[in-house]
């Protein structure tokens, strides 16, 4: 993987053109395997998602807070595997690009090339693996590139300037900017660390910069949209699912976020 040869795939083009048109991007997260998850993808598309992140549950999710941890446990307890999820995805006829998020062992278990080929076959256009940081990403990035999967990289408030530039330039689809030093989870306000990281990243790349981790309310989404190209929202939506809310109801929460972003 060299900077010169990496070009964007479908996700990259889709989000890039929407962002260029001035739209604040909204990428919600679905934990695959929870009740109604497949319907939820459609609801999110209908509610204005620009892409949907599909979480493949892993037993030891070290970047995830209590909500996603519990969701993963439930999904695993229900027999969810990467294979069952990828088999279902083509049937969803999703109206938006799909981005898989999972941990490195799930990828490594099949081998990165085979895993990426399976993603492609399932119609997935992006991949996020939070425990493969930039320095470990060469093999995975190559495998993604070979299958036309956009490999989304994460940046964090602690990422030093030099590496921030590399992450910004290599990430495809979008740059996942961690709004906070912490795990996924519901937080009341946009953390103070978010604005600077987003600004730094935007100065380094034309790829959309999305803030994630802890963004849950219309207010914080609006605040994030003011400094970045959009947001990733996970725990707030997954919590709804865990609490028993149906796809339509969860879709309404996303619609409220869409409204907030559009008003920003």
């Amino acid at each position: 993987m060299s900077a010169a040869t990496v070009t964007g795939g479908a996700l990259h083009r889709h989000l890039g053109s929407r962002a260029a048109a001035g739209r604040s991007l909204l990428v919600p997260y679905v934990m695959a395997g929870l009740p109604g998850w497949a319907e939820l993808v459609g609801e999110f598309a209908a509610a204005g998602a620009d892409a949907v992140e599909i979480g493949l549950p892993f037993s030891d999710p070290i970047l995830d807070g209590p909500v996603i941890c519990e969701a993963a446990e439930r999904a695993l307890a229900g027999g969810t595997t990467a294979a069952t999820v990828l088999a279902e995805l083509p049937g969803l006829a999703a109206q938006v690009p799909l981005v898989v998020m999972t941990y490195s062992n799930i990828v490594l278990h099949r081998g990165a090339p085979a895993f990426c080929a399976a993603l492609r076959a399932a119609g997935v256009s992006g991949l996020i693996v939070p425990d493969v940081p930039f320095a470990e990403a060469a093999e995975l990035g190559g495998a993604c590139g070979a299958e036309g999967i956009d490999h989304v990289l994460l940046a964090a408030p602690s990422t030093p300037p030099g590496r921030l530039g590399e992450v910004a330039q290599r990430s495809r689809g979008f740059v996942y900017a961690s709004a906070v030093m912490g795990t996924t989870g519901v937080r009341e306000h946009l953390p103070a660390t978010a604005a600077r990281l987003a600004a730094d990243l935007k100065a380094l790349t034309g790829t959309p910069v999305l803030l994630g981790l802890g963004i849950s309310s219309p207010a914080s989404a609006r605040a994030a949209a003011a400094v970045a190209d959009g947001v990733v929202v996970g725990s707030a939506l997954v919590r709804d699912v865990l609490e028993g809310r149906g796809p339509a109801e969860v879709g309404r929460r996303l619609a409220a976020l869409r409204t907030a972003l559009d008003e920003a």
């Binding site: 070290i62 519990e70 062992n105 994460l154 602690s158």
Partner: protein, 385 residues
């Protein structure tokens, strides 16, 4: 950060700078004679090093094999864990960190971390699975007496694996003020290397002691139990350059090398117990300290290259080994350590250890913590011995 295909730093980007800082600080400290002198002095005056090398006279006579025991059970807090935590605590102070984070399973590493923190005036936060907290109330209170905060972990199986995940998660949000004091030769680089270096005092001491004790200077076999693998890594470090045959003994129910396959867990790539979908399994051993589904990456490499022979023993053999060693040598060793002893008993019987050969066995810790387990095993199964 690599041992062949293993090791690495599979952590969120947010933690990479913290790992890099630990790496820089450790590299710098390890090359600094003053740091080494400070650590050596702490190990001597506080932890009681060097630990003894005990010829197991009666067991040797029974087996027809000369058995030497490296007595980490005599170290302060009752196991080799203190070697590593004193090193990391000194390093944390050098880095200006005021707090240690640690994961713990049965509580041994947690107690050691709380001890080192108290000694150096640092705060300590120990993550421990809720199930382990219930099972190890005495160790929980021991940590509290030492001034540490014990945080219950309620995710997953609520045991060591989950406590480790939680400690990594917690570190993300406080890496600027806290040092993650990882307890074994695992985790993201530089931990596997750093912890091995802090534990190599076991092997270095034993090497020198064997040279005084044995006509051959070097034992024919060097044996240690392997969970995460820190006591084995420290022991083997002293003998990798010799002709000794090195043997790592895993718990049959937690044998990442013997029964696992390559994977990533807790920031490193190594052999990992996992199901056919890549979900990490739970380990099950009578020895809580070996209840870990992964193994340090250097062990994975040493297994692949064949320099170390890894094998397993079952719970019944382990319980029998505790009783045998107690009755012949007056030492109740930890159930973890008893895995190494059990292998010696088996190998001496089978002829894998020829008569007259010499065997160094690291006793990683003392068995005081295991007495209730031994009693339950006796009450539950009449054939334990």
């Amino acid at each position: 950060g690599r041992f062949g295909d293993y090791g690495g730093r599979f952590v969120p980007e947010a933690l990479v700078p913290a790992c890099e800082e630990v790496e820089r600080a450790f590299t710098d400290a390890w090359a600094d004679p003053r740091f080494r002198r400070d650590l050596d002095r702490l190990l001597a005056v506080h932890a009681g090093r060097p630990t003894a090398l005990t010829p197991a006279w009666r067991l040797s006579a029974e087996l027809g094999v000369t058995v030497l025991l490296k007595r980490e059970d005599l170290a302060h807090t009752g196991s080799h864990k203190i070697n590593n935590v004193l090193g990391q605590a000194l390093l944390a102070r050098r880095m200006g960190r005021g707090r240690l984070l640690a994961e713990t399973g049965a509580g041994q590493h947690g107690v050691a971390t709380a001890t080192a923190a108290a000694l150096l005036g640092l705060r300590a936060t120990v993550y421990m699975g809720e199930r382990d907290i219930e099972r190890q109330a005495l160790n929980v209170y021991r940590m509290e007496v030492l001034g540490a905060e014990v945080v219950p972990v309620r995710t997953g199986s609520r045991t060591l694996k989950d406590a480790t995940s939680e400690a990594l998660r917690a570190w993300v949000s406080c890496a600027d003020e806290a040092h993650y004091c990882l307890g074994s030769v695992m985790g993201p680089h530089p931990y596997p290397t750093m912890v091995r270096e802090f534990q190599r005092v076991i092997g270095d001491e034993a090497r020198a002691q064997c040279a005084r004790e044995l006509p051959t200077a070097v034992p024919d076999h060097v044996v240690a139990c392997v969970g995460g693998g820190s006591n084995a890594a420290g022991t083997f470090a002293g003998f990798l350059g010799t002709g000794a045959r090195l043997v790592g003994v895993e718990a049959a129910g937690g044998a990442a090398i013997t029964h696992g396959r390559p994977g990533t867990l807790h920031g490193f790539r190594s052999y990992v117990l996992q199901d056919e979908h890549g979900q990490v399994g739970e380990a099950h051993s009578v020895a809580a300290g070996l209840d870990y589904p992964g193994v340090g990456p250097e062990h994975a490499h040493l297994a692949d290259t064949g320099r170390v022979h890894y094998t397993t023993v079952g719970d019944d053999e382990v319980l029998a080994a505790v009783h045998r060693l107690a009755r012949t040598e007056g030492i109740i060793c930890a159930l973890e350590s008893a895995h190494a002893v059990a292998w010696v008993l088996r190998a001496a019987t089978s002829g894998e250890l020829p008569r007259g050969c010499t065997v160094l066995v690291t006793l990683s810790g003392r068995g005081d913590k295991d007495i209730a387990t031994l009693m339950a095993a006796r009450d539950g199964a009449g054939d334990v011995r």
